[in-house]
């Protein structure tokens, strides 16, 4: 499968900065990622690594302090960065939808949740009002909100955290978008509900060829639902590859540490290992070429040289890494047999 031949979404060498009083935060640098129709790509990486900034940029919603200083974003061949407010707004909701990380804030607090779904349907479909109501209730049922007729009339404050989250998912999926960006869509939901929602996403990918960018801290979930995984660290994509290859044999030292920090199967808290060190301060003028270098046990002199994503080996055109001293496939494969 070659995702890059005809991508639906293409992020090309993107750089995003934030001007703050304390200096310029270089949140994304040289970030490239493509999604094909029907494909689910996982985006993982430590807190603060730039996953949400990347998704906001793709959706064309940005903080006033944000500057896109380089690169391009294309959706179905159109240059998104050239699109003006209204044109972008028309795409959002209909063609591309996003599930936000903070559900309660993303909902309108003073409007019934069923109406909020109808608003989206009214804007982006030609359903008649009566049909819209029925469809809104159906959307609530699809995300497993019990008693959807009654919940239709609820205000966000009357719903539990997980229900608000599901309402947001319902809003995002209501128009059956071509691209879904889901930022931690199911954290805080129990496993059964989580599975139901991911099934729904999967159905839409299969039936309507929806492409999904799934941002998650849950590597187990990423592994289960994603075709490919991209790993971010401090505003760089450091590794991207087919899910099984990446889990079986991570090549970037950061990916390996991330996988090792997963609590599944640990017998005690003491056994869990946090990744040493912190993300570097992204305001630093002297950020190293490899932003992981200062935390990396494998660091060497060559790590100061410029760096870009490149195929991890001759045989793997789809498995890319940005590392001068990658792990060898054989070594990590042995170590990760236990995790599988």
């Amino acid at each position: 499968m070659n995702a890059l031949s005809n991508p639906l979404l293409e992020v090309d060498r993107l750089a995003v900065e934030f001007r703050t009083r304390g200096g310029t935060v270089r949140a994304l640098e040289n970030v490239s990622l493509a999604l094909a129709e029907g494909e689910t790509v996982g985006l993982v990486g430590e807190s603060g690594s730039g996953k949400s900034v990347l998704s906001f940029a793709a959706m064309g919603i940005q903080d006033a302090a944000a500057r896109i200083t380089a690169g391009a974003i294309r959706f179905a061949g159109q240059d998104l960065l050239a699109k003006k407010g209204a044109a972008m707004k028309a795409l959002r909701g209909r063609e591309m939808a996003m599930i936000f990380q903070n559900p309660r804030v993303a909902l309108n607090p003073i409007r019934q949740v069923g109406r909020q779904i109808e608003d989206v349907l009214a804007r982006h479909t030609d359903l008649l009002p009566a049909a819209r109501r029925a469809r809104a209730i159906e959307c609530l049922a699809e995300v497993r909100i019990p008693d959807p007729e009654r919940r239709y009339a609820a205000y966000p404050f009357e719903l539990s955290g997980g229900m608000c989250q599901r309402v947001m998912i319902a809003i995002a999926l209501a128009c059956k978008p071509r691209l879904l960006i889901a930022d931690e869509p199911t954290t805080g939901l129990d496993v059964t509900t989580q599975a139901a929602i991911m099934r729904l996403v999967r159905e839409l990918s299969a039936e309507r060829r929806m492409a999904t960018l799934l941002i998650t801290h849950d590597l187990g979930m990423a592994r289960e639902y994603c075709d490919r995984i991209a790993v971010m660290h401090a505003g760089h994509i450091v590794e991207v590859g087919p899910t099984e290859a990446l889990f079986a044999a991570p090549r970037h030292p950061y990916t390996e540490r991330l996988i090792a920090a997963t609590p599944v199967g640990a017998a005690s808290l003491a056994e869990l290992a946090a990744i040493d060190g912190n993300l570097p301060d992204l305001r630093r003028a002297d950020l190293p070429a490899c932003r992981f270098a200062e935390r990396c046990p494998r660091r060497g002199a060559e790590c100061e040289r410029p760096l870009a994503l490149a195929p991890a080996g001759a045989s793997s055109a789809t498995h890319l890494i940005a590392c001068h001293r990658p792990l060898t496939a054989a070594a990590t494969e042995a170590r990760h047999a236990a995790f599988a």
Binding site: E46, G48, P103, L159, M163, V191, P263
Partner: protein, 330 residues
């Protein structure tokens, strides 16, 4: 040992409209439990079962419809939620909210948010207060460079850490955490869990830890409470409950974990049958709430609502037909 916190027949109903009539949604429907000093209690149960409502009652940000909340043997349930902000116990019960974005003041920097807690709860100012703020930031692994940012300039996990730092900076006796790790990556999560463990050892801090992540509950908590539609259906030492869950709902939860039930694969008899959950609106008190989804449900379950009863080994279960539990001697 005297209890640090005790809930007695605690209830919270919300009036809702259904078919043109006002009826009562039983979000928390008669809950009894306690937390000892230095104890970590996990609270699990599916979305909407009443965990956050219970937490808000305990931290007194919501008034109960009935029942008592006792803290160090004093009834704080009667202190109106609005007056609680000034109550002397305020410092000793702190809370980490489910949605960090929602609970941070957008006009305060991270430093100001944490400092306000130090000022109001510990009465500290100046250099001493500033030192406390940075200490707490260090504890939660929040780089000091981020302290002067506003919430909208922080990532989800960074905001979550500000919320945790604000809650622990006053060193409360009881910390209530509502899904604190949901927004955290595995590495930060490890830092936080190990921090909680340390606060417990060093300061005898107690925790009520609400989470959907059973793996984390298993590692962190001494005891676990399992809620279903407003009620506690099972309670007991974490190891025992995870090893041999007695209530059909708990069995189904644990069967869904990758490791599954101890002693092998989950059988069909351990999974919930299809069917919708019952409505929390004016539920029939003479009927088990799990009926309809329970793989065991029998006639009696539709006639007598099961009560929480001791089954030995510090365990309690509310079920007419619990799984037989052999007590493992500790």
């Amino acid at each position: 040992m005297p209890h640090l916190l005790e809930a007695i027949s605690l209830k919270r109903l919300f009036p809702v409209k259904k078919d043109g009539q006002t009826r009562q949604l039983h979000a928390v429907d008669g809950i009894d439990f306690h937390i000892a000093p230095g104890e970590t209690v996990g609270l699990v149960g599916e979305s909407g079962c009443g965990k956050s409502t219970l937490v808000r009652l305990l931290t007194r940000t919501l008034d109960p419809s009935d029942g008592q909340v006792r803290f160090r043997n004093r009834d704080i349930g009667l202190v109106r939620s609005r007056a609680m902000a000034l109550h002397p116990q305020r410092k000793d019960i702190q809370m980490v909210f489910q949605d960090p974005t929602d609970s941070l003041n957008p006009r305060y920097t991270a430093r100001q948010t944490i400092a306000e807690s130090v000022r109001l709860l510990c009465g500290l100012r100046g250099a001493e207060a500033a030192a406390r703020v940075e200490e707490a930031a260090g504890w939660v692994g929040l780089p000091l460079a981020l302290l002067d940012r506003y919430p909208h300039q922080l990532s989800g996990g960074q905001k979550a850490r500000v919320g945790i730092a604000r809650a622990i900076v006053s060193r409360p006796a009881l910390l209530v955490l509502d899904e604190p790790t949901a927004a955290l990556d595995v590495s930060v999560q490890t830092v936080i869990l190990q921090l909680l463990e340390r606060l417990k050892q060093e300061l005898q801090m107690s925790f009520l830890f609400v989470s959907h992540d059973l793996n984390v509950v298993r590692l962190l908590c001494d005891r676990v409470l399992v809620m279903y539609l407003g009620r506690v259906v099972e309670a007991g030492p974490t190891d025992a409950v995870f090893h041999a869950p007695a209530h059909p709902y708990t069995r189904a939860l644990i069967a869904s974990l990758p490791g599954g039930l101890a002693g092998g694969q989950a059988s069909a008899a351990d999974l919930l049958v299809g069917g919708d959950p019952q409505s929390p609106i004016d539920p029939d008190p003479n009927r088990c709430r799990l009926l309809g989804r329970c793989p065991r449900g029998l006639a009696r379950c539709g006639e007598v609502g099961p009560q929480l009863e001791d089954i030995g080994g510090g365990r309690q279960v509310a079920c007419h037909y619990p799984a037989v539990v052999q007590h493992v001697r500790q």
